[in-house]
Structure formats: structure tokens, C-alpha cells
Symmetry: C2
Subunit: 276 residues, 2 copies
């Protein structure tokens, strides 16, 4: 029994932390992509996590395995998304583990209960705040209230399974950004304002407009990313920065993006995480 989890890219967000990782998280808005993570579990003599064919520490997945596995297992996760570039790879690995272990050991957890373990793993490791609830839901997901799936509150913006272009230059350390106080003040202020504005008119176009605004406002974008966004806009497309990665995603503008790196194309995933 395998699980499948989509990528999740955040357009804008504000961190909302509390004592309890289950009620911690973020508000904001993001998109799940057909580029996914597939996870399979098998019994083993010693617990081992294999990411894309290599044995790995994978602390976020490991956190989930330590809590849910009833006996040693070999967990194999194949990640189709770029790593460390804001596509929610750690959340996808952790959520994939939770769903696959639930099936393997017949634990009888609901989707929200399994996803909640993955959310806590992300928050506790400082690797993410909102990817897991977005990945569990699928589509263009508005995070209205922070927290684990079943506690946080989400809604969706209806959206076609459109083509999404992206260029990923390299990683940004989510941990570093999330722990920098001055940065996070700017991020949180802009994120709350963008969400308020989006709720007045929740459409894909407004999601892109507000993500673009947030990118500048929060001061997280590199010159490379800003130039790439402008190049897409110059040919009539819509683009913004992937939060948090030195990566840009776009509707249209695939030609214009070519001078900024290798352009990849995927589609919006309308389904959330589930068994495969």
C-alpha cells in the first residue's frame, strides 16, 4: 500500500505560533502541484528511511515513523519535486509516511489524524508551518486559521488543473527565515494584509497578484527572482516567488523564464494526499 502527496507552494503567509505544535501553523494561501511524493513501507530488521534511492536521516519523516511504526520498517519515498526550494518536500515525505504507516499497520487513523502527526513533525523540526494542511486538502488552498489538519481551518479557491511553470535556482533555509525576528515581522504583517485582501475577492488571479505583492513587501526575494517575475509579466503572464525557496512559479511566460534557468512544467493538483 503506497501513499501519494502533492507538492505545495505557498504564495504568501503569516506565521502563527503557540505552545502546542498542533495549534501552531500559518495562515495564507498556496497551491498543490501534480509533482508528488510516493511513499511505500515494508517490514525490515532495522528502521531505515530512503529518499530517492539513498538512505537518509530525514528527521521530519523519522519523527513520524518513531510515533506510528509498531515495528521496524523500511520507508521508501520518491520525491518528484525539487528539494529545499519551497515545494513542501519535507511535509510531503512526512505526510506520505503517516498515510503509508497507517495503512501498513492498519492503525485506523482518519486522514486528519494521520496528517496531524506529520504537521507536528514539521512544526517541531522548524521545517514548515502550513504545507501539510495544504497538501492534505489539495487545490488552491486558503489557510484561514493555523493548525494541524482537523484543527486549522481551510477553504479553497476553485481552480482548473492548469499548467504551472517553475524555475528553481536553489534552496533558502526555511529554518533560518522562520527564526529571524526582523524578517518575520515584515512577513507576518504582509501575510495578514494579503490574506485579508484575498478574502474580499478569492480568485486565482488575485492570489497571484497578492503573492507578487507579498514577495516584494516581505523582502524575501532575490534580484534573480524579481527579474524572473518581471520577465513573465512583460509577456502577459503571472508569476511570483515560491515561499520559501529561491524559485519562481508562473502561469504563462515559459519562454521568458528560459534565461533564468531550466524551466519545468507541471499542473495544479486538485486532489490532496491519499493512498495511491
Amino acid at each position: 500500500m503506497r501513499s501519494w502527496v502533492p507538492s505545495h507552494i505557498t504564495g504568501f503567509f503569516a506565521a502563527k505560533r503557540s505552545e502546542d505544535p498542533k495549534t501552531s501553523g500559518s495562515v495564507g494561501c498556496g497551491l498543490t502541484l501534480a509533482l508528488g511524493a510516493t511513499t511505500a513501507v515494508e517490514d525490515a530488521l532495522q528502521t531505515e528511511i530512503i529518499l530517492n534511492e539513498s538512505s537518509s536521516d530525514a528527521p521530519v519523516s523519522r519523527y513520524v515513523v518513531d510515533r506510528l511504526a509498531k515495528s521496524p520498517v523500511r520507508v521508501r519515498t520518491k520525491l518528484d519535486m525539487p528539494l529545499g526550494s519551497g515545494f513542501g518536500a519535507s511535509g510531503a515525505g512526512a505526510l506520505g509516511c503517516a498515510l503509508a504507516l497507517n495503512a501498513h499497520f492498519n492503525l485506523g487513523l482518519t486522514a486528519d489524524q494521520a496528517a496531524s502527526v506529520a504537521h507536528v513533525a514539521e512544526v517541531s523540526n522548524g521545517t514548515g508551518l502550513g504545507d501539510v494542511i495544504g497538501q492534505s486538502t489539495g487545490g488552491l488552498v486558503i489557510r484561514l486559521e493555523p493548525g494541524a489538519p482537523g484543527i486549522g481551518r481551510v477553504d479553497r479557491i476553485p481552480v482548473q488543473p492548469l499548467k504551472v511553470n517553475y524555475v528553481a535556482l536553489g534552496p533558502i533555509s526555511t529554518k533560518e527565515v522562520l527564526s529571524d525576528k526582523a524578517t518575520m515581522r515584515a512577513v507576518n504583517e504582509a501575510g495578514v494584509a494579503a490574506l485579508k485582501e484575498l478574502l474580499k475577492r478569492p480568485t486565482l488571479r488575485d492570489f497571484m497578484r497578492l503573492s507578487r505583492w507579498f514577495t516584494v513587501q516581505a523582502g524575501l526575494a532575490s534580484d534573480w527572482a524579481l527579474d524572473a517575475i518581471e520577465a513573465v509579466e512583460a509577456v502577459g503572464g503571472m508569476a511570483s516567488m515560491v515561499m520559501l525557496g529561491d524559485a519562481v512559479f508562473a502561469f504563462g511566460g515559459s519562454q521568458a523564464l528560459k534565461s533564468f534557468g531550466e524551466v519545468h512544467t507541471t499542473t495544479i493538483s486538485q486532489r490532496g494526499a491519499n493512498l495511491d
Copy 2:
């Protein structure tokens, strides 16, 4: 811009009504199927609703059109599921209308806001209580608290996109069943008990077991349906009655079902309603 909505078959339920149709609904558990409804909207001189090529009163869809259309429209809905047999065709039509009109008139409604109009249309017309929130979510959906999407509370049981066999003998009037007091007492008592039991161990197998138990307990099944269920079980499959239709759905047992009518096969839909 077209919308797509999956079928939804309920395995067991309990009606929960209140003064406000938005907080009315049902608790229980049901499954969405790949068999869907596709809806397209175009401007017209006079409002018209076309179901499967024929102009139709379609009161549930009409309720949605009257509330959301800014000017006269022709709405075309193609329904792949059997009508009146508990596959949530009226909910699929209404929810499809809401999503297609939202896109056509650029109304800026979220998925929950659009679906809420369809839920109220169903409850007001007495045609359904829980299909719309199940269809909006997708998968094997537990309805924990009644109400429109965004108000009612749901969770999911993780499930593969498995093959589902079904035989539909004919319609049962949802309106008649829902308005019969003695029947509804038995239904509600059994539905609440089944949900409580499911939450102890939420798996597909337990959903089927409890749906089967509910079918007998609520006294809604015809002899035909009970015989069909037993025939599937005799060959090691799992089956139950579709609530509310004289129809049976099954995992496995397609040969055994053949003596009960034309056997159709579809799959579980993991995605909920969205733009197409």
C-alpha cells in the same frame, strides 16, 4: 469554464435538522465516485437548464441559478450517474451550477461559499442532506457535524482509487423517506450508532461493515437489495445499499451481482468538486 462534481453515495447517515438550512444536514459516511456531473454555462436570452440534452425544471439547480446568475444563462449539465438512485445527482447538478456560475460571472466565491448555496438548495428542496459537502470534499468522507461546506465538519478515511461495482434497480424518493417520521426514527438511531462505531476504527472495511449493518437496522432495503448484498458476500466481497436508492454498491462480487441487474463499474474519486 466548466465544473466537475463527483457522484456521492451514502453508506449510513442520521438527519440533523435545524431552522437554518445552512446548519441543517446529516452526519454519516459516504463515498465519492469518478462518475461525475459536468456543467457549462453560457449567456442566453432566457434562463434555461438542460440536463443530459433535455430542457428540465431541475428545481435544485434552478434554486442556485436564481441566486447566483447576474443575467439569463443556459446551463448544460451532463450527468454520468444514474438519476434518483442515491448517487447525489441533484447535489452534483446544484454544486456544478454554483461553481460554473461563480467562474462565468467572476463572483469571487470560495469553494465553500459556492457549495454552501448548493447545500441550501438541496436542503430547501428536501432532496438531500449530506451529498454536497461530501461531493465538495471528495474521497471517503465522514460527516462529523451537519451543515453546509464551511459550517459542517468532515474528515476523510484514506482510501485508494479502488474499483466500485454497482447495480441500480430504480429510484427511492428521498423526499418521502426523509419525511416519514417512523422511518427516520430508525434511520437516525442506527446512523448515530454506526458513526460512533466507525470513529473507533475508521477504515474502508469498517465503513462497509457498518453501512451493511445500517441497511438492515434502518429497514430501508428491499429484498432485492438484501439478496444482492448477500450474493456479493458469499463470494468474499463487501457490499451495501446506496442511501437512498434501490441500488447496491460493492467491492468485488461483480459476477455475483449479474443476476440482479446490469453491473456497472467505476472508481472511487479522490478529488472533490472543482473547475474542469
